[in-house]
């Protein structure tokens, strides 16, 4: 059995999406479901409701008026975004534990994921990009595959060390060389099973190879650049350090300049800290 076969088995056995998220997702495409049904599902948990509101106000600050009730959140943001906020809260706790294979301490992956989500939003704002609503959620989920690959990386640490001593390649390329799959593909595999839709799945799948994507390019470009910015600033760098390739395509297509990156980075730090307390 190859590593890839074993990892695919792990993807199939990865914990399901939390039940509340599953119920909400089931209602999203149902035109007969009204806000009340969704509101009742979420309001059943007062702690969750409070956090959804805090998160909504923090993530969408400046784009909508302050949101003080779940009803208002549903009206102003729509059911899809509210679902994504609930999902973000549910998934973020899973990003907290240390990942010894990757050399990440507890909370490193969470901070890296939040940084990527916020920086992607900031870049979208700076570059005046529209229709990239999902960018926060994809940013938060983009490295979910690390949870799955961590034990395999731990078992092959010596080979990874050797590869890096001999060649200057991107870490995801090394993952594919050793394990036959990288964390982007593994993460996308999980999200596909969770049935989160092609936009989120593609965003995660191609975040290290944005030029390979055939749709949702703008979203994928933002996630790629924000991820690179996060690593660049040393947020969640494990054994791989900053050993990742920046793809030329997003830089060219979005007309990205160093000032855009630096401005986004300056805005992201405090926001990351604020969201870290809300999300866990």
């Amino acid at each position: 059995m190859t590593y890839r076969d074993r990892i695919e088995e792990h993807i199939a056995n990865f914990p399901k999406m939390p039940p509340l998220c599953q119920s909400l997702l089931g209602y999203l495409d149902d035109p007969d479901v009204d806000f009340k049904t969704i509101r009742n599902l979420v309001q059943y948990d007062p702690g969750l409701t409070a956090n959804v509101l805090k998160l909504a106000n923090s993530v969408y600050l400046g784009t909508v008026q302050e949101i003080s009730s779940l009803q208002a959140a549903l009206v102003r943001l729509g059911t899809r975004r509210v679902f994504e906020l609930v999902l973000s809260l549910a998934v973020s706790t899973r990003l907290v534990p240390a990942l010894p294979g990757y050399g990440l301490e507890a909370r490193d992956l969470l901070r890296h994921s939040i940084w990527t989500a916020v920086a992607a939003q900031e870049l979208a704002r700076i570059l005046q990009m529209k229709n990239v609503d999902t960018v926060f959620t994809v940013g938060l989920l983009h490295d979910l595959g690390l949870l799955l690959l961590d034990p395999f990386i731990a078992g092959e640490r010596d080979r990874f060390t050797l590869i890096f001593e001999e060649q200057s390649i991107s870490f995801n390329t090394a993952e594919r060389e050793v394990l036959g799959i990288d964390h982007a593909e593994a993460g996308a595999g999980i999200l596909e099973l969770w049935q989160l839709g092609p936009e989120i799945v593609s965003g995660v799948r191609w975040h290290h190879e944005p030029a390979e994507a055939s749709c949702f390019q703008e979203l994928i470009y933002l996630i790629h650049l924000a991820d690179m910015l996060s690593l660049s600033e040393g947020i969640g760098t494990g054994i791989y350090g900053l050993q990742y390739n920046v793809s030329a395509e997003p830089v060219r297509a979005l007309g990205l300049k160093k000032e855009h990156l630096e401005y986004a980075a300056s805005k992201t730090l405090d926001k990351m800290r604020e969201l870290e307390t809300i999300l866990t």
């Binding site: 040393g234 760098t237 390739n245 830089v251 160093k258 630096e262």
Partner: protein
Amino acid sequence: MTQLIVDIADMKISDNPADTLITYSLGSCLGVAIYDPVLRLGAMVHCMLPLSKVDKEKAKIRPYMFVDTGLQQMLTKLYESGMRKARAVVNVAGGSQVLDSQGVFKIGERNFTVLRKILWKNGLLMNAQEVGGNKSRTVSLEIATGRFYIKSGGKTIYYDLP
């Protein structure tokens, strides 16, 4: 021994010989430690970005985010605490970067360029410097001895006072 953690965009100063200043996970950011061996006084800063002009508002709240405002403030605090320029031992680490053929992610290189200019203007020389590449680094400064440690890729090296 007490570890004083220097967060991103922050600075710590101490003359307590029991203290060690430490900052984690420097990527393109710069960790700069300055030490006066006579007073046994040291400070460390963790700067993210080269120039404060990119976000002047943020620089007012978080001057240590930027190399220009961060270094100026740090030096001011050290001089106020009695440090003499001639005795200052400056150690620097960080300034790494991701693999980027386009050059937009050269934040580390720009950080270091700005730092060198500021040190030159202030008539300060660097003692140890480990800058560039694509590794993440953790650095610490022992207040009792002035010893500067750089930990990277599982290895730790240290620099004693000159």
